[in-house]
């Protein structure tokens, strides 16, 4: 098999589009959250300004090598995730570097950023960061379980580990989406999705009122800017996976935008109306509600 070198600039183009889309979408979601509190909220371009400012900070301090690598790992997690899943189905340009077994790789990348963060935040030496990251790892692990179960259910259902083929199998009308062919898997996965979006009720990792603000406490200037970049890319990349696996993928950018927005809105909507769980409560919640759903979804197939 020959490697098509043209894929690299195309993948970078996807990255660029997703990055901008992510920045705008995060601000837009923040505005929607603000509307719930009867506010107008931040301007839609605020994230760009914050990024420029943070990259433009004059001084920064370091706590050691891992402190540097933390945000880098995190960004790698986001970018890597995006690069290896097809963003737009059927488009030569935007199917990125997807290959036959990319589903497994994607699952790995979802977790990768948190692990990197654990190393970096641990190095920063701030007790809140350490507490935050232990909570984060515990919770992400618990949330990952139903997701993995759901993904296996989907993979079993379509008998493939390639995201592209899963999307292909869902084409041809709404009723072919996994959402309708295997609703249990989707339910389990969406619960896991809530858990990994760092919004209430599962934001005990950041929890400004308890451990301000958890792992990134010590991060500032350019480090923080790197993490913000990731914060724009990573959720979108994650949502792309969900979209591909469960909601029939997207065949064009507008469809992509609408679907990503709706999935994102789901987590924001839940986030606005709930306070947060304690970490052991949230783990128990995942084990009681989400994991059985995931198991059932495998049995369903």
């Amino acid at each position: 098999m020959t490697f098509d070198w043209m894929k690299i600039p195309y993948a970078l183009l996807t990255l660029f589009i997703v990055f901008n889309f992510g920045l705008l979408l995060t601000a837009f979601i923040a505005k929607i959250g603000a509307r719930a509190g009867r506010r107008h909220g931040i301007p839609i371009w605020q994230n760009y300004i914050d990024l420029i400012k943070n990259y433009g900070q004059r001084s920064s301090i370091t706590h050691g090598v891992m402190f540097y690598l933390g945000p880098v790992f995190r960004l790698t997690g986001g970018v890597g995730l995006l690069l290896f899943v097809p963003t737009i189905y059927g488009s030569e340009m935007f199917s990125n570097l997807s290959f036959a077994g990319d589903l497994i790789l994607a699952l790995y990348f979802v977790f990768f950023g948190t692990l990197g963060m654990a190393l970096g935040a641990g190095e920063s030496g701030h007790p809140h960061a350490a507490i935050g990251i232990t909570r984060g790892l515990a919770q992400v692990t618990a949330a990952e379980l139903p997701l993995a179960l759901a993904v296996f259910a989907v993979a079993l259902q379509y008998q493939t580990l390639s995201v592209t083929e899963i999307v292909a199998a869902q084409q041809g009308g709404m009723m072919n989406w996994t959402m309708f062919t295997n609703p249990l898997a989707v339910a389990a996965a969406m619960l896991a999705f809530l858990g990994s979006m760092m919004r209430p009720p599962f934001d005990v990792v950041l929890a400004p009122q308890e451990i301000p603000i958890g792992p990134p406490t010590e991060y500032h200037s350019a480090y923080l800017a790197l993490m913000q970049t990731n914060r724009a890319i990573f959720p979108i990349a994650k949502i792309v996976i969900y979209m591909n696996l469960f909601f029939g993928g997207a065949t064009s950018w507008p469809e992509f935008a609408v679907k990503v927005f709706l999935i994102y809105l789901f987590s924001a909507f839940v986030g606005v109306c709930f306070p947060r769980f304690r970490v052991e409560q949230s783990i128990r919640w995942f084990l009681i509600w989400a994991v059985p759903l995931g198991v059932l979804s495998i049995l369903w197939v």
């Binding site: 107008h40 931040i42 301007p43 420029i52 900070q57 004059r58």
Partner: protein, 213 residues
Amino acid sequence: MKEELLKRVVKGPDGVEFEVEPLRDYYCEAPPAVHPPVYAKIVEDLFNWARSQSIWILGFGTGCGAIEMRPLMTPRFDAYRYGIQWRPTPRQANLLVISGYLSVKTLKRAIRAYEQMQNPKYVVGLGSCTINGGMYWDSYNTIKRLDDYLPVDLYITGCMPRPEALLAGFEDLKKLIRAGKAEGANQYAENFDWYKTNQKRVIHDWDMPDYNW
């Protein structure tokens, strides 16, 4: 000097004994450095514009003025519209709002918080208490002039300043930043000894390093 800051021998969880001298091991002794604007003017202007449009306030309510911060974050005044946000950690904040009188005990914490912020950083003093002592001009426990201890960019008058006054003050601060005049951090670094002398004159139990980045 607090006990936990003294030099001591510590036995680690793995049984190895080692010596710890907290002031030297846990803190950096280097004085703050001056970071002049280094890039070309147009880049600096862009950065200054971005800094002015994205002011992150350290959520540290040092005095009564903090009560008017809540309305600023909420529907009626909504400072988020102007790019003003609150950050819980000094590392990520650019603006330290000294909201009212500073007792000596809080001054110590405010200095630490200020020194942990990253250059460029700004200080805004709220209310007459930070300007000349205000109502507490004869109190034994509050400082009278904030600019003796921290480089203040802007004072907002009032007791306490109304949210409208705060918003207007932040707009003025933005103008200062855009004009490149808000160089408090460099001023602090240049006159470091003077600031430290003033600070040590009122903080009698100085039990922290001279500069904690």
